[in-house]
Symmetry: C2
Subunit: 570 residues, 2 copies
């Protein structure tokens, strides 16, 4: 008799396991259940549906050839039985059975399995804020709420919105509300930066600046303490500290919680996040039960710790591995380096590995370089600035993380993707200096920004480049009368000299070898140029002339201008 496989969850990992298994074995008995009636959908596309990039919600559960991925599709095309509107209640591991409830009929049934796959996903957290259950307060959890939000916005029912949480979904939703619909949107984030799980502060600040420039108000380091309104009016305002802010819609994007209660109740081990613990074969602590996707903890290959990461890409890759293992072909999922990317209005951002803060928490001694450079040959017409932060451990020189942002989103992703797959293998700074990526003028500089980031980080680790972090510089400059030396041409330095007077000196780099004796030797000098290249070269020269208190402002005016509106170029 052929084996019976039960799969709990039919969104991403579940169908992938089922379809792969069917191809591997025509006779195996596969049943997939899901609480919802809409299955196998691209949940990560919801913000683009709400924002109008995707007109028709069916696109999110259709194949590339426009077939609707419903149970009928899985039956006829894939040979898979999917039963919707069925909830898993308990697992009886001794009997190898699960008790389920048919939600429409309100009946219970016991299903037996040879192997069980838990693909139950995660549910958005509804934070314990008074009023969080009012009408017009949404989580972005499934296609039903997505349709509800869009129907409301598209009929003109929303003028002002508050998004609680500046993670990926919060930012994508803020863009969706603002960009097409012109909803006046505010993001409230309790951390002191946006995307606190994904980005360090330098790149996050560029994202915040972009959000503000695009009309999204960003409130950091604060919490919504109350959501006001009645069950008739729905939400009318939120309370943020002392401030009351009117709004017609609240989007809760405060993270997700893995759907694992029925599994942990049966004695399967979970980690601190509440997600299931699995081994490299994606087996839970019961050898007949596999799990994957948003409901498991994975090993972070850089920090060595465990993490959750709700991404359809990980779920799909894991699905194939679980199917292989069930079929008896050993396959492994070793972990993740947390690769992540996001579009934020005109910018694309991508990251992999640890931020400086995460690296410190994990016990490393992180050193970072922040480099600004054109993404194509600088003479190529549509070349744009890209900003890359590269982070290494001081003593081992191993790369801990990389973050990048720029206008040409695919080009940003290209740089991070060239590093990400190597992060788990102990790539070091020297490897990045010679990292071999494609070169032609429409694609890159001859010395690509990623190699340059390696070179700069190497120079910093060797003590040749003595940088000051951009945010530290801005804070210091606003607090103290520190001395800046601008190495650019007079026309470029002029607006800053006009604004800051003799705090902002200008000696073009070409004149520095003649004029360096004009400079004070007894005070700190903060060197700036367009991107950090000329200021580095000048810093080295001044060091060679005996100047000891010279700091190179990382990323130069290119980064400064997109980090703080006070320094925006006009």
């Amino acid at each position: 008799m052929s084996k019976h496989i039960i799969i709990i969850g039919a969104v991403a990992l579940g169908p992938k396991v089922a379809c792969r298994l069917r191809r591997l074995d025509p006779d195996i008995n596969i049943t997939v259940i899901d609480r919802d009636n809409l299955i196998s959908y691209g949940g990560c596309g919801i913000p683009y549906y709400i924002g109008g990039d995707i007109t028709d919600i069916e696109a999110l559960f259709s194949t590339t050839s426009h077939a609707i991925r419903d149970p009928e599709f899985f039956r006829t095309c894939k040979g898979i039985k999917i039963i919707p509107r069925v909830e898993a209640l308990t697992i009886n591991r001794t009997d190898k059975s699960i008790l389920v409830r048919h939600l429409e009929q309100d009946t219970e049934e016991t299903l037996t399995y040879d192997k069980l796959v838990i693909a139950s996903g995660a549910t958005p957290v509804r934070p314990p804020i008074p009023g969080a259950d009012l009408p017009r307060v949404f989580t972005v959890s499934n296609l039903h709420s997505a349709k509800h939000i869009k129907d409301m916005i598209s009929t003109g029912g929303v003028g002002k919105a508050v998004v609680i949480g500046a993670g990926a979904i919060g930012i994508e939703m803020a863009e969706a509300l603002t960009d097409l619909w012109g909803v006046e949107t505010t993001i409230v984030e309790m951390a002191d930066q946006v995307l606190p799980q994904a980005l360090g502060k330098n790149i996050a600040r560029i994202v915040e600046n972009q959000l503000e420039e695009s009309g999204v108000k960003v409130i950091l380091s604060q919490q919504v303490t109350q959501i006001q309104g009645t069950s008739e009016t729905g939400v009318t305002a939120v309370q943020i500290g002392e401030t009351t802010m009117d709004c017609d819609l609240v989007v809760l994007s405060a993270g997700v919680r893995p759907n694992t209660k029925f599994a942990s109740d049966s004695g399967l081990a979970v980690g601190r996040s509440g997600a299931l613990l699995v081994d490299r074969n994606l087996k839970t602590t019961d050898p007949d039960i596999y799990a994957g996707g948003d409901c498991i903890e994975m090993r972070n290959l850089v920090s060595g710790g465990n993490m959750t990461m709700p991404l359809g890409s990980l779920a799909n890759r894991q699905g194939r591995i679980i199917a292989n293992n069930i079929h008896g072909r050993a396959a492994q999922f070793k972990g993740t380096v947390g690769t992540f990317c996001i579009k934020v209005f005109e910018l694309g951002a991508a990251t992999a590995g640890l931020t400086v803060a995460q690296a410190k928490t994990a016990g490393f001694d992180p050193v970072h370089a922040l480099v600004a450079q054109f993404d194509r040959a600088h003479f190529y017409p549509d070349s744009k600035f890209m900003f890359i932060q590269l982070i290494a451990d001081r003593s081992t020189r191993k790369i801990l993380g990389v973050e990048a942002i720029g206008e040409q989103a695919d080009a940003v992703k290209a740089r991070v993707d060239a590093i990400a797959p190597l992060l788990g293998a102990g790539l070091d700074v020297d490897d990045v200096c010679v990292l071999e990526t494609g070169y032609a003028p429409p694609f890159a500089s001859a010395m690509d920004v990623i190699n340059n980031a390696g070179n700069v980080l190497d120079n910093i680790l060797e003590g040749r480049n003595t940088p000051i972090d951009m945010l530290d510089f801005i804070t210091l400059f606003k607090k103290e009368a520190i001395q800046v030396l601008d190495l650019r041409e007079p026309s470029e330095a002029a607006p800053f000299i006009e604004k800051y007077g003799n705090r902002w000196l200008n000696i073009p780099q070409a004149e520095l070898r003649q004029r360096f004796e004009e400079l004070p030797r007894d005070q700190n000098l903060y060197l700036i140029c367009g991107t950090g290249a000329r200021s580095y070269e000048s810093q080295v020269f001044l060091n060679q002339q005996g100047f000891k208190q010279v700091k190179n402002i990382q990323g130069g005016s290119a980064v400064l201008s997109v980090t703080d509106p006070d320094f925006a170029l006009t």
Copy 2:
């Protein structure tokens, strides 16, 4: 007394060595010589200057901050002495001196060195075709010839052009001539495909199709045997086999030859290509002489053999390594995997590692997968098809090469760059299946095309996917009355059924499980769908039903339609 470093060549590697050395050591004595008066230029930008993407030739020898990189710039900004119009004649390795000629003054001088760096580059080959020295026959060798060509075109002097050689420069020049200037351009290539060094035939065919669609005539497997004209008229026609083709301009892009005669005459070892042999520290066979850039052979990290690869990106990375080594900080350049990218009108193509043909020559048993998939989530508005060919060795499953092409060039580069840095480290097929690259709908599918290419190749290696190569299919279909089974919807299959009658059956995938008994079991069946996914699934199903002669057409209609105009979608 400080050391004296002489650097021969001031285009890419030479200035990089000099500037890095100056930053490492303020006292070291550095002299750079070059035959030309124009130095430190981006030679790879020449086609874009000729094609009008770059208006001003000075952009090719300016910094990102618009400073002209002339000897004065290097003196004032970099502290480097560059002497233009000086040619290296001989190296006297016993005395550690070089004899040079000042070309303007026509005088000779002996310069002594402690360390010598050879960065003499390469010169375009002028093939031994009668008439190759006629006026209006150009190599794309330096800014002087670039300016000459552009002046001629922009004054309307060119109606028809012939480009000899379909390497990168040949194709970039063909695009430059056609796109802006509307010159009627023909490329003649002696190999049976374009870009024979870089691409396998499948992807090359897509490039050829794009060139033809963009108005460039491509003639393969033929040679120009004579260039006709007089010294007064310049070129008037070329002879290709029996055909005479009128033209006003000939561009020779038949490869380059390393400028190493003066070096090999002094006893430095060269490889079969004539380029210098260097060790991992980029030292020649003389411990006081380093070399890098277009005049050296590098180790191909996939094949283990030696190769030349004239790319500014390699030269720049090598320059920093040579400077480090001269300064006493050991640094290594281990080799290259031949990463390459090119823009061809609306397409971007990228590649790394070996083609199928190169892999065979190197003694591997290559197996390839050709995958068509959208570069973003398929529901995201601007998603476009990308085509990836992934090649592995049959027995070891090690990845030997990857090629990709698509409309969104940065996205194409992102996929190849995610593989390229791992190629030298023995990446295998399973690693590609789980390769961790960034995911969000505006950037990728949840199962990205690169992971999918790994999955398909795994399925082929395991014998589950039994493909026929796209070009083999086209050849066979045009020669024999083979039976195609189209798994798409009737509306998609209809134009093919109309054209090919009962040679082109149609059973939509959703009906196959009911209707498979209609199919003949005693003849070969060639399965096609949109991209190869449904045809694979159907092939597996038919195999499971006992059909033994079923082949899956790799890449489906998506690849077929851009490979052969006979199958273009209307």
